[in-house]
Amino acid sequence: MNPLEAVRLALNTIRTQKLKSAFTLMGVCIGVMFLIAVVSIVNGMGVYLKDDLVGKLIAINSFEVRHRPNINMGDTDAETWREYQRRKRLRDYEVPAIVEVLPAGTRYAVTADASLSMSSRYGGGPRSVRVTGVEGAFFDIKSLEVTEGRLFAPQEYVMGTPVVIIGPDVVERLFPNLNPIDREVRIAGLPYTVVGVAESQGSAFGMSFDNVAYVPLQAPARRLLNTEQSMIDAVIVQSPSEAEMTEAMENVRQVMRMQHQLRPAQKDDFSLQTADSALEFWNKLQGYLVLAGVALPAFGLVVGAIVIMNIMLVAVAERTSEIGLRKALGARRRDVLAQFIVESSTLGAVGAVAGVALGVLLALLMRTVTPLPTVVAPWSVALGVLVGAGVGIVSGVYPASRAAKLDPITALRQE
């Protein structure tokens, strides 16, 4: 009997025994569905973190020189943390040496930030806002634009003029139903003039990126941003390409080590944070999550396999006289073996396809009703179908070999 014939026979049997087949399919179907769904959640979180969260915090082909990383996804142990605490802060007088070694075409910005209270005479009480003092190509690197007003003029950076660009949340809170441009706000009590409203940067995990304000680094609030006037939080460097970024990073690393007078054996006492380094922990975590996402449904698939095996055993018992007849008419052992294995693996594969469909549906449903941006991983679909068919084959082997070994005479006699 050729394989196509076996598949046709299997589909026929499945069609004529709809209810039993449906039950058999269920185990595999549910297992595969959860596999697809769980992997799509993990995958979606990864895409979310990369594109939406870290992508917003760290611009493309850029790195940030900091005394310690500011994006921590939880893998810092106590020892590392203590070492971070001991590190020297970055100082503004270290910046010129850094700028000097940057390759041509590289942009940079210097920032210092703190949460300060802001208030206006138009809105509610003082509000805590993330205030960042910026200098250099900050708005270019972040591709941050204003929806109202303007960015800072060059002389405002130089003079440290008390002007401010505020985020949408701050506008809403301090200037309800008012155009904030040219009006006064107070940052930690100091008067500033609003010159622009920054475009919305959205939110991640319910945390808004719009409760922000930007001032020229040299503006009066500077002394409030850090305990010492010369302290800065980051130098942000952006290169035109990844290769140039790597080169710039290497140059900056050498300069920083020189300025900190590190010996070759000593480790860096500063950090060069890239999108990749920020995601390092996530990548590690994702591995575990995917493993869990595969292991849990796998358990369901084992249950599914046992169900299929039992139903196939019942099918063999019920169809004993059919098997006897087929043997009398010339079916060899391997024909009977093939018939039942193909039947169970077709069941498994059909269950897997149904599971894939349901899993994709579940992922789409979650995307629309929950904030989880699920993304179905193509490999999980392939794995699901393969595993489903595999479960079918494995659970069919024993019942099929029982069927193949039946003695035709005894089998025929059974009614």
């Binding site: 009997m1 050729n2 014939e5 026929n12 004529t16 006289s321 059919e322 007849l325 087929r326 043997k327 009398a328 008419l329 010339g330 079916a331 060899r332 052992r333 391997r334 024909d335 035709p408 005479i409 025929l412 009614e415």
Partner: protein, 274 residues
Amino acid sequence: MSNTIDDIGISTTGERQAVVATPGATPDQDWVIVARGLKREYDMGGEIVRALRGVDLAIRKNEYVAIMGPSGSGKSTLMNLIGCLDSPNGGEYWLNGMLVSAMSDDQLARVRNKEIGFVFQTFNLLPRATALQNVELPLVYAGIPADERKRRATEALDSVQLGPRLHHRPNELSGGQRQRVAIARALVNRPSILLADEPTGNLDSTTSQEIMRVFEELSRQGQTVVMVTHEPDIAAHARRVVVLRDGIVESDERRERFVDRVGIQHATTKVAHD
């Protein structure tokens, strides 16, 4: 066994005795079945049941043989051996010059597919398959492509007057029609023997006669037929009757002698075509 020359026009007692008397010798091509001292014993937990105790039987091409005997005499056991569903514990079984008693399981399956057409008392059709699909089954295992299968199965069903019932399922057919589907299935692969175990056992007498007419027609066309029955008037349709008792051949004679001996009154009217 009767020792007189018993000529049924195809084989004589002398010829049959000669061919079974030489163990190991390959019979001529026109001997379809040659069994020499065939034994089949069942071990029932220490107690040996001797179902066949040395059966000698030779059947030529185009013979129409009925096997009779009381219940438990070994008829079905012999049929299973002749049909290659079972292997003997002793003796030889030659089918078309092949020594079947030495074959493996897969070889036996091959021989069943090519050489044997089975007709069972309980029809044994697949209930969910149509008449056509049931008849195609042996061709599936013979590896015949689908379109040729369909053509040959349709022909076989036509030849048993079931042309208009190709797509009916067994439960939509009468008992006689079901048995004719089974006969079509038995014949579709052009076997060298048609083997029937109590083919009329589940049919009323009118339908039984109808099936017997099909068998007679097949025999007239040259088909070798071996049929087990315990009804003498069914056996009387064959041209030769073998009677088993306690696992050996008790008598092996032409139909007329059998009819005379057991005294079937109404049988002669039904065999008028001779």
